[in-house]
Symmetry: C2
Subunit: 406 residues, 2 copies
């Protein structure tokens, strides 16, 4: 009799019919004898509707009241899901994040889980009930309602699985699992059966929209094995777990493509200590997230200068240009170049550690396609390149074919 934590996202519970489908699936597991904790998100669109109402009231609603408002979204879903289960004859009870014992810090709209005391969850499970828990929310030790920010429902599920020592944590979504590449770009992409936390982290960090990083980080930290699978069929999904030896037999786990980046190059930056720090501190203070940073060797012996390139999220570009312009004279930057027509292509795999020549093979593949590489950045299990946006899809297909077959 396994204890399973299941999580269903907003599209899986988008309307009452879909909630009934979720209930039917949960009921099946229940009949098999499993003990179930089901974490649900707000119905798709509900959170946006609540945010719109808040913005109608005031452009800058307080975060404390936003949490009070947004927490209603998941509370609605848990009640409806519990009703749907009861209608199928399955004993069920819903719990808000607070009732489920999810205690967070007081950073409203992006609270961190401090601890979970799932006393009520245990009690209900012992009564033979399916427990439906509101994702995305918790409360402070003082009883203030908080929300966990983007991807918060995944985090609720994984944290509950850790606290309950669940046998399995299933993250239900609208895709069959994690793929070797985005199937819309690479038609030959395949579902991955098993992937390590680190690989998934690198894939997600490289633009594959699988899960929020911090849920995966949390799972890694607490060793929670979870499965990403579809709520639309019964296919097995992708198991995410600690790296095992045999994972290295596959050189590359997947290819990911991020078309949402822009590149800024600062030409002729004085190459002296503190300059780079000054630039990136200024960007950080403006809440601009910098991804790749490449600095080339410097030119000129007397007063050496260098070129500094970095990538940021495309929507941040106007703000970044303004911020850089503000410190340009002071720092002594000669020229600022911006380019939105770029993409970041990454290959990820723990296997590359034990296989040499992976980078060469990737660059070679791109060269044969006539694709120029603009920037390169590598980590232990990832190689990322910045290329021209127009050739990004071709590049992804070529690299996928080279490493993962076609």
């Amino acid at each position: 009799m396994a204890l399973i934590v299941q999580k269903y996202g907003g599209t899986s519970v988008a309307d009452t019919d879909r909630i009934k489908n979720v209930a039917a699936r949960v009921a099946e597991y229940h009949r098999r004898g499993d003990r179930l904790v089901v974490v649900v998100s707000a119905m798709a669109g509900v959170t946006d509707k609540l945010i719109k109402m808040a913005k109608d009231i005031t452009p800058l609603p307080s975060e404390r009241e936003m949490d009070m408002l947004l927490a209603t979204g998941e509370q609605t879903t848990i009640a409806l899901t519990a009703m749907a289960l009861e209608a199928l004859g399955v004993p069920a009870m819903s719990l808000t994040g607070a009732q489920a014992g999810i205690v967070t810090d007081g950073v409203h709209t992006k609270a961190k889980i401090k601890n979970i005391t799932p006393r009520q969850v245990h009690a209900l499970l012992d009564q033979g009930k399916v427990v439906i828990v509101a994702g995305f929310q918790g409360q402070t030790p003082e009883g203030q309602i908080t929300t966990l920010g983007r991807g918060g429902s995944d985090l609720t599920a994984i944290a509950l699985a850790a606290a309950l020592k669940a046998n399995l944590c299933q993250i239900y979504t609208d895709v069959d699992g994690v793929f070797t590449a985005d199937p819309r770009v690479v038609p030959t992409a395949r579902k991955i059966d098993e992937i390590s936390y680190d690989e998934l982290l690198e894939m997600a960090g490289s633009g594959a929209k699988v899960m929020q990083l911090r849920s995966v980080e949390f799972a890694k930290k607490f060793g929670v094995v979870f499965e990403v699978r579809s709520s639309l069929n019964n296919n097995p999904g992708t198991i995410v777990k600690e790296e095992t030896k045999d994972m290295e037999s596959v050189v590359i786990r997947g290819v990911s493509l991020d078309k949402n980046q822009a590149k800024i190059t600062l030409v002729g930056v004085p190459d002296r200590p503190g300059v780079a720090a000054r630039i990136f501190r200024t960007l950080a203070e403006a809440a601009i997230n910098v991804d790749m940073i490449v600095q080339n060797v410097s030119h000129g012996a007397a007063s050496p200068t260098t070129d500094l390139s970095f990538t940021i999220d495309k929507p941040d570009l106007p703000k970044a240009e303004k911020v850089i312009d503000g410190i340009r004279k002071e720092v002594g930057i000669k020229k600022v170049q911006a380019n939105q027509a770029i993409a970041k292509l990454s290959i990820v795999g723990v296997g590359m550690r034990s296989h040499s020549g992976v980078a060469a093979r990737m660059f070679d593949t791109l060269a044969r396609e006539g694709i120029n590489i603009d920037m390169i950045s590598t980590s232990e299990i990832k190689i990322s390149v910045i290329i021209e946006l127009a050739k990004a899809d071709d590049a992804a297909r070529a690299v996928h074919a080279a490493f993962l077959g076609s």
Copy 2:
């Protein structure tokens, strides 16, 4: 510096613009230096929408989950109202019923308030904040979310006013106060400046849609003086309080009309002990609410029979006829007559205790209008008659003119 509890119903907070209006009014009181606790209902239509979703899931959702679901309605409004106040520069904080310390019994969907421990409300007031409390909801000592049933937000406001020893409790609605009659029926109806709890109870119990009985009963029990007034203007409303001597100078406080009743007459009911009890117990078990009951003297010396008439809510008529039919033979009822085309006309006033001939004057007025009286029922401060539905409005106007002027 007065402590005021204000309550705004669903139509007063129906959309974000109206919520802003409510906030503007609250801000005015705040600037005057008053300390404010504001109780709000769900936005008009929201509760019905939630109920519809629940019914889409299952025809008979559990009441525990209905409470979990419905409680989100008020929670949405408190957050938006607090935001609207903050946008006006007024420090505010929202509290759910549970957070406000409203402890109820465990009878879901119609819980009773057991006690209020408004520790957080006091703390926030002491910080100079306007406290926004979700009406209609509370939690059990075990932490289960409950709702108080119909009119629950009024009850929240009045119970909070009692617990906080507020100087004033204002119930904001879409009418100017309590009227001497329904202005849609009696154009000469006037707003009543002051009314006693008992008069309001009798008015509401006779069909005047002012407030739910139990909120008034609660206010009477705890001596909470409250004002029913409009959220659409600044006119003073109707003060509801304990009866005072000078209230008796007015013979009749108001006229009320209930067109939502049906009458059942049981002809030839054996006049022996236990028969009436059997009939009304059966109706009660079927959850049919009986209002007026009239039994005439019996006929026949050997085996005396009587006619028994009673009124019920019109929608309950089919169910009531079925229930009566089920016990008809056993009890020995000769004939069952039902009539939906009736209305109950009542006059209410503590003054009638000290003025004789009030009933005679009412009956005389109706007689002069050619209106036949079908049933009569009296209490200490109320006289009700059942009359023909078609003549109900004429009757109300005539009686209002006779006692309250035209």
